[in-house]
């Protein structure tokens, strides 16, 4: 194929498909075994300093916050993040100094809440290096290529733009149409952290509502760490196999963490905790505030249960359930600040 253009962004997470197959053959067990463990052990074992990581969900939707806080607690360093619509997840990991390189589809923003003070400061000062740009579809198709065991996927996005120039994609002449087409390279993150509604002890996992790109990402992951609202019996999975998004052989670790996505949104269960996110947005305006936040909510708590007590316990969790179900109005302190 005739290569017409090459993006000069850094290529992260790519592997020759045969090399990946060999890695899978050696490291991914097909045994139906109990994978229950603690978040502490799972992060300790599977997230090494310097790895490429990705989080499931959508930046502030269904993020495995329990696993994310543990990365911060264990003071992991020099991680590269797949910024595949990274919102609250990216902001915290960059602010904590765990992530210092990122490939960006969407990062440094909080959607309607505005820009993320802490991670944006890190990007503008060079503390966090943007290694490449890409689009949301482009990133998710990088995972699709990996999930399919292919070196790349052809797409019709990014063509003609600086986004492509700064990406790791290549443009070739499509042998069928003769038109230019953009090839996005496969991406295999070293570790992926994902929060789901339910799974069994083997890792067969079900997600309610939108899947976002977790179908592809789970299959692209080298190591897949799952936290779940609840662990259910294997028999329950077998009663509704059509609901399984992630089969067990993709999964390396399973931990039950109820409310484990707080303060991000868990579809059908609880809405964003805007009180808590507002506190983060306020404190993260300064480096001192960032330290204060992590001391209080990560290093200063002994367990996720203790963290949940700190954010308001049962009463606040019940309120978030009501907001999710449109039974209580949304209150967002950051709104007041935005209006000023």
């Amino acid at each position: 194929m005739n290569v017409l253009q090459e993006g000069y962004g850094t290529l992260v997470g790519w592997s020759d498909p045969d090399r990946h197959r060999a890695w899978v053959a050696e490291h991914k067990s097909r045994a139906l075994k109990d994978k229950r463990t603690t978040v502490e052990e799972a992060i300790g074992e599977y997230v090494a300093d310097g790895s490429l990581i990705a989080l499931g969900g959508f930046g502030h939707i269904r993020v495995s916050m329990a696993a994310l806080y543990e990365i911060i607690r264990q003071r992991k360093r020099d991680l590269t993040l797949c910024g595949k619509t990274a919102v609250h997840d990216c902001d915290l990991l960059v602010a904590a100094g765990c992530v210092n390189r990122i490939e960006v589809a969407y990062a440094f923003g909080h959607e309607l809440r505005g820009l993320s003070p802490a991670s944006r400061r890190a990007a503008e000062s060079g503390r966090c290096e943007v290694v490449a740009e890409i689009s949301n579809a482009g990133y998710q198709w990088r995972f699709l290529a990996a999930a399919m065991g292919l070196p790349f996927i052809p797409t019709r996005v990014m063509l003609g733009t600086d986004t492509l120039q700064r990406s790791s994609a290549k443009v070739v002449e499509d042998p069928f149409t003769g038109k230019p087409i953009c090839l996005v390279p496969a991406c295999y993150p070293d570790a992926v952290l994902m929060h789901v509604h339910r799974c069994d002890k083997y890792g067969n996992a079900q997600i309610d509502g939108i899947i976002v790109e977790d179908f592809e990402l789970a299959r692209a992951a080298r190591r897949l760490l799952i936290t779940t609202e609840e662990i259910i019996p294997d028999s329950a999975i077998r009663e509704s196999p059509q609901d399984t998004v992630i089969p067990y052989y993709l999964v390396d670790a399973v931990t039950e963490v109820k409310h484990g996505a707080h303060p991000t949104l868990m579809p059908g269960r609880y809405y964003f905790d805007e009180q808590h996110i507002s506190e983060w947005l306020r404190l993260s305006k300064t480096d001192e505030g960032v330290v204060e936040y992590f001391d209080r909510y990560v290093h200063g708590v002994e367990s996720f249960a203790a963290y949940l007590d700190l954010i308001g316990g049962e009463a606040q969790l019940e309120h978030l359930r009501q907001v999710e179900h449109l039974e209580a109005p949304l209150e967002a302190p950051w709104l007041e600040e935005k209006r000023r």
Partner: protein, 255 residues
């Protein structure tokens, strides 16, 4: 008597009026959601809303904070995936795309990545997100943004999302789907389209109380000004009330 309205309410009203019933729209965060919801509740009850995280055909009850919010698949026909909606866009099922931007040029190219040099940005914005995908793949892209000479520029600091690139035929030459591109731009000053042959931005209408001179002054590139310039119609009371129902906390439309 015309009720009082804010510029954001006017923008949303004008934007909603562009969306035809029984068409599909790829909706981005913020004002585009209000416009699409407003259209669905007024002139286009069968408007198919599609959100990048997988929400397909929802009846959005209240303004979502995120395009992946549960509200984006409330009473939806499908709670699907990004692969599904991006593929549908690539295959030609998306009539309208709806975007915001930090900078725009005369050809409707957009910047949402950086101000300053990419290596040493003065301001770092979130990047493409789904914007490049929407601008590449939807048939007609509508852009909603604030207008001033810093945002309406001759040369972008970074071309995140393709408009007509450097002119007629450029999109097809680089391999983008044929027949796609920017369709309308809506700002606090007026409504714009793109010249049929030149593919450069042209003024279509000004908002009430805005002059053509105001528009030219707020534009950092040469705008095509036709002989006939219309004036947009402000939102009636009922539309303003509907908007208040959509965004009760005033997250986007203000208070």
């Amino acid at each position: 008597m015309t009720p009082e309205y804010t510029s954001t309410e006017l923008l949303a009203h004008v934007a909603a009026g562009l969306l035809e019933d029984n068409s599909s729209v790829f909706v981005g965060t913020g004002l585009p959601v209000i416009a699409a919801m407003l259209a669905q509740r007024t002139s286009a009850p069968n408007l198919l809303l599609i959100f990048e995280a997988g929400g397909i055909g929802p009846q959005v009850p209240v303004l979502p904070i995120s395009v992946g919010d549960s509200r984006t698949f409330y009473r939806a026909v499908s709670a699907s995936s990004m692969h599904d909606v991006m593929s549908a866009s690539q295959a030609g099922y998306l009539d309208y795309g709806f975007l915001g931007a930090a900078q725009i040029d005369a050809y409707g190219n957009l910047n949402t990545t950086v101000i300053g040099e990419w290596e040493r940005p003065k301001v770092r914005f979130p990047g493409s997100g789904g914007a490049n995908d929407v601008g590449s793949l939807c048939w007609r892209t509508i852009i909603v943004m604030r207008q001033d000479p810093v945002r309406f520029v001759e040369t972008l600091d970074f071309l995140t999302t393709p408009g007509y690139l450097d002119g007629p035929g450029a999109r097809e030459r680089v391999g983008l789907p044929a027949g796609t591109g920017p369709y309308r731009v809506i700002t606090q000053l007026g409504l714009y389209g793109f010249h049929e042959r030149l593919k450069r931005m042209q003024l279509l209408a000004v908002h009430p109380g805005v002059s053509v001179e105001d528009v030219v002054e707020a534009t950092g590139f040469e705008l095509i000004i036709p002989d006939e310039v219309a004036t947009t119609i402000p939102p009636p009371r009922a539309v303003l009330d509907t908007m208040r129902d959509i965004d009760p906390t005033g997250m986007v439309i203000g208070r």
